[in-house]
């Protein structure tokens, strides 16, 4: 799933990146069915968004078999493409391609104190980002660890400390956990993929009162990627925390969010942003080979 942490480790300390990148992302995914499927309804959350740090230049989404798709923006502000198929088919392939401009590292924001976070205003405004979720549930042991990490630190520092702790605790193992494992499962196994890193960080940050949200997106695997070179990129997940303002951090690689990160969706956890989910009638489905090709254009 995600590149090994070692490969990107140097970015934190490494050479200065240019101010902004232009990246093309081509994401291929889909399902293969055991028996022909005649009814299938799908929602894809694969279109990057624009914000202060990132600018979407162009995006398109194609399916095979071809469909008439419908786009809408969901509660979390994610661009959703929905489509349904009624002709018998045994394979559904989706290719989402986009060109995105990203800017340099996001700096941590240190405008809020613990008292600010505890105030009624923040607790109320970000209430749904402080509650435990299915993938990031409450756990007593984790709460006490998080409390220890909080001691003597400002909220912003606590975010970094928790991320670092998560990064040190888990070993990156592709395929160790599926979509449906929670932060607790991953922590008990001491290994996981980027989702698990993000969920575990979220569960701990929320338990100490820091509003935090899940970010899904892509990561260009080469910190010093050459222009025009296509690399095998990765679907990726990281977190954003609120400490006077929202800022992101990547606990899987223990790095700041930079030009190599392209974000697609934010939510409470994976459940709010799953890239492709669908409902169909028929036999079992398996995912086809997923590939993410990323090319630095400028």
């Amino acid at each position: 799933m995600t590149t090994t942490p070692e490969a990107v480790r140097q970015s934190r300390t490494g050479t200065m990146d240019p101010v902004s990148w232009r990246v093309r992302v081509v994401h291929t995914t889909g399902y293969r069915y055991e028996a022909p499927v005649v009814q299938s309804y799908n929602e894809a959350r694969l279109t990057p968004r624009s914000d202060r740090r990132q600018n979407l230049v162009v995006a398109r989404l194609e399916t095979t078999p071809a469909t008439r798709s419908y786009r809408y923006t969901d509660y979390w502000g994610t661009e959703v493409t929905s489509f349904d198929l009624h002709a018998p088919h045994t394979e559904l392939k989706i290719v989402a391609s986009s060109v995105v401009e990203t800017t340099e590292h996001v700096q941590p924001i240190d405008d809020a104190s613990w008292a600010d976070l505890r105030g009624d205003g923040i607790a109320d405004r970000y209430g749904e980002l402080l509650e435990p979720t299915r993938y990031a549930p409450r756990n007593k042991e984790l709460i006490s660890i998080a409390r220890k990490l909080r001691t003597g630190r400002r909220p912003m520092e606590a975010v970094l400390a928790v991320s670092e702790w998560v990064h040190d605790q888990l070993t990156y193992h592709q395929g160790t956990t599926g979509v449906h494992s929670s932060a607790i499962d991953a922590w008990q196994a001491r290994e996981g993929v980027c989702q698990d890193y993000a969920h575990l960080t979220l569960a701990m940050l929320r338990s100490i009162g820091i509003p935090a949200r899940y970010v899904s997106g892509y990561l260009h695997t080469k910190p010093d990627g050459a222009i025009g070179e296509t690399v095998r990129g990765e679907s990726h997940a990281w977190i954003e925390a609120w400490t006077g303002g929202w800022w992101g951090f990547d606990p899987t690689n223990d790095i700041e969010i930079g030009q190599r990160h392209v974000w697609v969706a934010i939510g409470r956890d994976y459940g709010d942003v799953s890239p492709l989910k669908g409902t169909y009638s028929g036999g079992a489905a398996s995912a086809i080979e997923v590939s993410v090709d990323m090319t630095r254009l400028a």
Partner: protein, 315 residues
């Protein structure tokens, strides 16, 4: 109209007719058993059960009472009168908004009265129960006739009724194919079909197998003859089919099957009728089964509940 409701109406028509015809057949058979002590009760009963498509229970001597229990009262046997009534009622309940209130109350109160009528039948004999079923079926037909629009819903109901009627008359004749042409059993057949009076007037009292079979299979005017029922069913299908007409052959499989069966009877020489009667009856039975399937395929696109599966692709 909604495919699921069309299917329900078709089956309401079939079940009510089935209850009615089964009651008629049983009524006459039971009386024959009671009146004529020379009849072998067990063999006759078994023959009747076979014809009605009910597997006779092994190792059990059958008599009038066990026969009535099996064919009329039993809730376990799908072909029994009580099961037919309750299936008709269940179908009406799910298609409640396309049948009139009178029709629903007729079937519902019939269903509600079953236990009481069963108790009464145990006391004073089964005949009361049969006439109750026949009366209610007649009432149902009358109410359907006077309260339903002659729209597609009506046509599906009538289609079901006549398809079932062909099936039941064929079964009735089948029960006698082993008899001698002069057997008094043929009177029973006429009585079961409610055809005795009409037959006597038509053939002036002459009773023999050829004429009875001819009357029940080929008569163009008698509403319980197979020919008449086939023609009626065919006409329902003609009206139901709104597709542009084709220039070759029949438009739909069900119409083709019915038309073929009808015209075979229509242009049959009367003297050929008794040659291979069994084969002919079996052919008709098969035809009815095929018609049922063809109608379901063409009109009842109702699907079973779809079991959805969730698919999700990880990152």
């Amino acid at each position: 109209m909604l495919a699921r409701n069309a299917e329900s109406l078709y089956w309401i028509g079939r079940y009510v007719e089935r209850a009615d015809d089964t009651a008629r057949i049983l009524d006459v058979s039971v009386h024959q058993l009671l009146e004529d002590a020379t009849v072998d009760a067990d063999a006759t009963s078994r023959q009747l059960l076979t014809v009605l498509g009910i597997t006779p229970p092994p190792g059990m001597e059958l008599d009038v009472w066990t026969l009535t229990e099996l064919v009329a009262m039993s809730r376990e046997h799908a072909g029994s009168i009580v099961s037919s009534i309750s299936s008709a009622r269940e179908n009406t309940r799910v298609a409640r908004e396309v049948v009139s209130t009178e029709l629903w109350e007729c079937i519902n109160s019939m269903y509600n009265a079953v236990p009481e009528r069963q108790r009464a039948a145990k006391r004073v004999g089964p005949s009361l129960f049969f006439s109750f079923v026949e009366e209610r079926a007649a009432m149902f037909a009358g109410l359907a006739d006077s309260t339903m629009s002659r729209d597609d819903g009506w046509r599906f109901l009538v289609l079901g009724r006549f398809v079932e009627r062909v099936d039941m008359i064929v079964r009735l004749l089948m029960s006698r194919v082993g008899d001698k042409p002069s057997s008094p059993g043929w009177v029973t057949v006429l009585r079961s079909a409610g055809a005795h009076d009409t037959y006597l007037r038509t053939y002036r009292g002459a009773l023999d197998a050829t004429r009875v079979v001819q009357f029940l299979l080929l008569d163009r005017l008698f509403p319980r003859s197979v020919f008449h029922a086939l023609s009626q069913a065919e006409s329902c299908l003609d009206h139901l089919d709104n597709q542009p007409s084709t220039r070759v052959g029949a438009k739909a499989e069900a119409s083709r099957l019915l038309g073929k069966a009808r015209s075979e009877l229509e242009f049959l020489r009367p003297e050929e009728l008794l040659e291979d009667l069994t084969g002919r009856l079996l052919g008709l039975q098969q035809c009815i089964r095929d018609v049922g399937e063809a109608v379901a395929l063409q009109y009842f696109h109702s699907v079973p509940w779809v079991a959805w599966t969730n698919a999700e692709v990880s990152l």
